[in-house]
Symmetry: C2
Amino acid sequence: MVISIVGIGLIGGSLAITLKENGFADSIIGVDINSDNIDKAYRRRLIDQDMSLNDAINASDIIILSTPVDAMRQLLPGILNQVEHQVVMDVGSTKVNLLNDIKQHPQRGRFVATHPMAGTEYSGPEAALPNLFDHKCTVICDAMDSDEDALEKVRDLYQSIPMKVLELDAKSHDVHTAYVSHISHISSFALALTVLAKEKDENRIFELASGGFGSTVRLAKSSPDMWVPIFKQNRDNVLDVLDEHINQLARFRSLLIKQDYDQFHQLIQESNEIKRIIK
Amino acid sequence: MVISIVGIGLIGGSLAITLKENGFADSIIGVDINSDNIDKAYRRRLIDQDMSLNDAINASDIIILSTPVDAMRQLLPGILNQVEHQVVMDVGSTKVNLLNDIKQHPQRGRFVATHPMAGTEYSGPEAALPNLFDHKCTVICDAMDSDEDALEKVRDLYQSIPMKVLELDAKSHDVHTAYVSHISHISSFALALTVLAKEKDENRIFELASGGFGSTVRLAKSSPDMWVPIFKQNRDNVLDVLDEHINQLARFRSLLIKQDYDQFHQLIQESNEIKRIIK
């Protein structure tokens, strides 16, 4: 199997390592408009060769889109214009707009929309990790709009890693990811800015910050080039969740102002329910 | 050296393991109003014996207060009434009120206010860990108000672990910890409530949530019995930081509403500066 990876960063690069290592891919072609990324991908031995997008499409069995999500929207219709037997899949964090764009495309069936739920706060080929996806979940969206053989190939790909495959409609996917991924990032960005805005003595932060702070602020290291397009594509859902999050913080604020510590205790106990869900 | 640990939970229990293991303590006495905690502490071999607080004070060289911070305020003046040569230290997250309470106490010098900057989201003797404090920072507050020999004993204790010892005045300590510890907890509690409030299908959260969400919401598992007293003792500082945090979230919200993605990108880039501080 020849696999092209369009956008050879953290996610694309990690897939490249895994699929080559487990034998699912015989050869990995790298496609990236950033020649630095191609250089780094060669040096990290993520790819066997690099090509232009057009050549890569013609040479591949599977084309994996792992660019920022706005670039995917620009690229996907043109790629579908060109494919025949090939399968195209994405690994992006938002789905509704992307799938609307190609709803009427005659080659819609060759595309499988997927979202492997794994990542780190780092980006670029240098951030690629060999076991990033092992035993995590991946979502396939609107599976009924993909051709049966394309779907089967993509399922085989994920099961080779192995990842657990779930199916969701695109709309539900975008709502759920706003809750379990996108809001966490905004919360971390805002927390980092909060501390940076007030704390001038940086060594003091560094020295006093323990694991708890590091954990809540870790995602604030994430790349704006990757994340701004996600917030843009999923704006309405993210706004809903952000409003709810600000409301929840305002409840804590109001209880502190009123010194209503019984109710404050009650709210923390309710939030502890997350234990049942996140191990 | 005989050491009493008053409040044998995560922090007290972890100190018990470490100080016994490294030989700093010859014997550990457990004191806890909760007899369940004493039972668990025996079963985990955290303590050599248990005593009433009065007996423990008389039998010890060092008394470590590791209860919730409001209980410390209730206990400390009475303990100081009783000590002669002994050293009393606390390991609490807030200092200003505790130290104000005993400012005029004739035995003030026997007390050393400390805060080892380490923990987990779990609590109780069963959560105690052998290497929780290794190579982390501990803060000693208002060191000039402690007797020289008491200070030296406490420094020796922390260096035996080993921990790095910093000095801060109590007021600065309470401001800094509001930023690097207390706000992270409120942010996590609120994030957990946000997701719990909107997501009814819990399995879906569990399946889709990746490491990023787990990381930002981890602290929401923390005990309200430990944390409400901290927010109560450090209310004014926590309110300042919480206001700032809500303002930062409101900036992101406003930019999303205006669809000003350039400025959104800029804000994320600013928040990325946290990289320089948190490795």
